[in-house]
Amino acid sequence: MARIRFQSVTKRYANGATAVAGLDLDIADQEFLVLLGPSGCGKSTTLNMIAGLEEISEGALLFDDRTMNNVPAHRRDVAMVFQSYALYPHKSVFENIAFGLRMRRVPEPELRRRVMDAAAKLEIAHLLERRPSQLSGGQRQRVALGRAMVREPSVFLMDEPLSNLDASLRISMRAQIRHLHAQMHSTFVYVTHDQAEALTLADRIVVMRDGTIQQIGSPDDIYERPANLFVASFLGSPAINLLEGALETIGGTLCFRRGALTVPLPACFRGDAREVVLGLRPEDVGPATSEAAQIHGVVDTAMPAGSDQFLGVAVEGAMLFLRVPKDVRVREGEPIGFGLTESRLHLFDRTTGRSLRRAA
């Protein structure tokens, strides 16, 4: 059981650089929380502070109601999977997995049972006598998971554990990590810069940038209702289209204007900014119908992408990337019209970058 709370936590290094600034975060017991952000955003530092591998400069870190600031790593009930796996090179796979249990003086029969159980679950039972140097990347990754699993910790930390694996293995390991979370009744904190990993694994995602939290929410919240321009552009592949323009009220309806383009906006947006940015995800367009708002432009490029195709469409001096079904017939240089799904539009204040969506 562990609820983890950061209360105004700041991490400052000796050279004056601030890695994390005034972090407030409440992680529920048994939650799967993903810290997501570009490199240098402070996500790994945050994880290391939970593990006790980084000292906290200011603020408090609590596990349940116990302040952990000065509790050394080896006295915290946490297990961690490192990006580099950090397997002990001089120990066999068995001893790697058993090390944490030996440190806790688990009796030998139970230790063997737990190591064998974990090895069986991870399908590495045949590798127990080998050294880490004799394993493939995927096998090492599973040994690292096994080493953390056998501890049955109340907090399970993972620092980009899949980033050294190839794409197909990464997807199957994601499923394995989900299973692990379902079985273990531990609080999981997972660090990644890979949005797909975050969206598939998390109960909640914390998007970070420059040591501060940009948004906390469910994967749906983060993707569908990004709090600011950074979150909107960090998630989504290809990235969200951003069109700069102005807000006008035409016939009582709030509209986005850019040159000849006018897009009526749904009532969920506030009209308290003049300079705005309209966000449109590549997949959020449909056929041009009379009811929907429409965008007209000229096809610049058409790129088949398996089941779909990506179109580059020039609209009012900007280039929009759209994802449309493969059977839409288009030719480069020809005009094209699309319908917008109003409810899936995003609108941001151009000055502050904040979303203009009204709080639900």
């Binding site: 006295r75 490192f82 950090a86």
Partner: protein, 292 residues
């Protein structure tokens, strides 16, 4: 047959000079000393140089005095290598920490290593001197001894004292070799062990020591080879004395060759020492490589 390319010809031409010099100054003396070790060469009878086959080797190996010097060489080497390993490990661990003045300390550490062997020998001769030596001065002033001691005149102390001078000179290189090994240990390993519940001393035994093994192998091998063949300090400090207490193999080779002018026996001893060093190194590499 494959034609020799232009590049290969050019390479051969460029290397030829170097190879010729190496042959003249290395290969020739090595082969020539092997040759003369098979003859009874004594400069006091330069005109008589009979071929004696392995007689020189047999004479050396059946001489109790030679085996006495082998024992002293082994004792000296074991003392020196063990102390170098322990002290260099401690120094490397210290220099692996971040603290103010670490760079200056690292630079100072290199001084003994940079001092030429002869200067090092003369310096320690002064330090150990019974009349004006710094060691007597220090111990007298601190009250540890009541009167000046003739340090190198005590046969029980001679080998440890020479080993001490040898250790002083050799520790810097050994410490740097071990420091390089320490620096190559990924920080994540310590993080992983800490999270696994290992306190600092367990992390040292579980991660640092095993990771240092290649460094230990290198240091043991290099320092053992240096110690077994060491000559300078024995020549400068004691000349094999007192009463043969520091009569090691390297010293005996010198005496036999350049004082007794018995080149045949001296060459045979040199070969025995070289082969023994080779066998020792081989055994060390085999033994320690298995644990890597």
């Amino acid at each position: 047959m494959r034609a020799v390319t232009h590049d290969e010809r050019a390479a051969a031409g460029l290397l030829a000079g170097l190879v010729a010099v190496l042959m003249a100054v290395t290969a020739f003396p090595i082969l020539y000393s092997l040759w003369i070790s098979l003859f009874a060469v004594n400069l006091r009878r330069p005109n008589r140089m009979p071929f004696v086959g392995l007689d020189n080797y047999i004479a050396v190996l059946s001489s109790p005095a030679f085996w006495g010097s082998v024992g002293r060489t082994a004792l000296f080497s074991a003392l020196a290598v063990a102390a170098i390993l322990v002290i260099a490990t401690l120094v490397a661990l210290l220099l692996d920490q971040e603290f103010p003045g670490r760079r200056i300390l690292s630079a100072c550490l290199l001084i003994p290593w940079a001092i030429p062997s002869v200067v090092n020998g003369l310096m320690w001769k002064w330090i150990y001197d019974s009349n004006y030596g710094a060691l007597n001065g220090l111990l007298l002033q601190l009250g540890f001894i009541g009167s000046a001691t003739i340090w190198l005149g005590d046969s029980n102390r001679t080998l440890p004292l020479i080993a001490n001078a040898f250790i002083w000179k050799e520790v810097p290189l050994a410490a740097i070799l071990l420091l390089v090994t320490l620096k190559s240990i990924p920080a994540d390993l310590y993080g992983a062990a800490a999270v696994d519940g290992a306190p600092a001393w367990r992390r040292f035994f579980a991660i640092t020591l095993p990771a240092l093994r290649p460094g230990f192998l290198l240091v043991t091998l290099y320092e053992a080879m240096m110690a077994v063949r060491h000559f300078d300090l024995f020549f400068l400090l004691t000349e094999g004395g007192p009463g043969g207490a520091s009569d090691v193999v390297a010293w005996r080779i010198y005496v036999e060759t350049f004082r007794n002018l018995s080149f045949g026996t001296g060459a045979a001893m040199s070969y025995i020492l070289a082969i023994a060093t080779l066998l020792m190194s081989y055994a060390l590499i085999r033994g320690m490589a298995r644990t890597l």
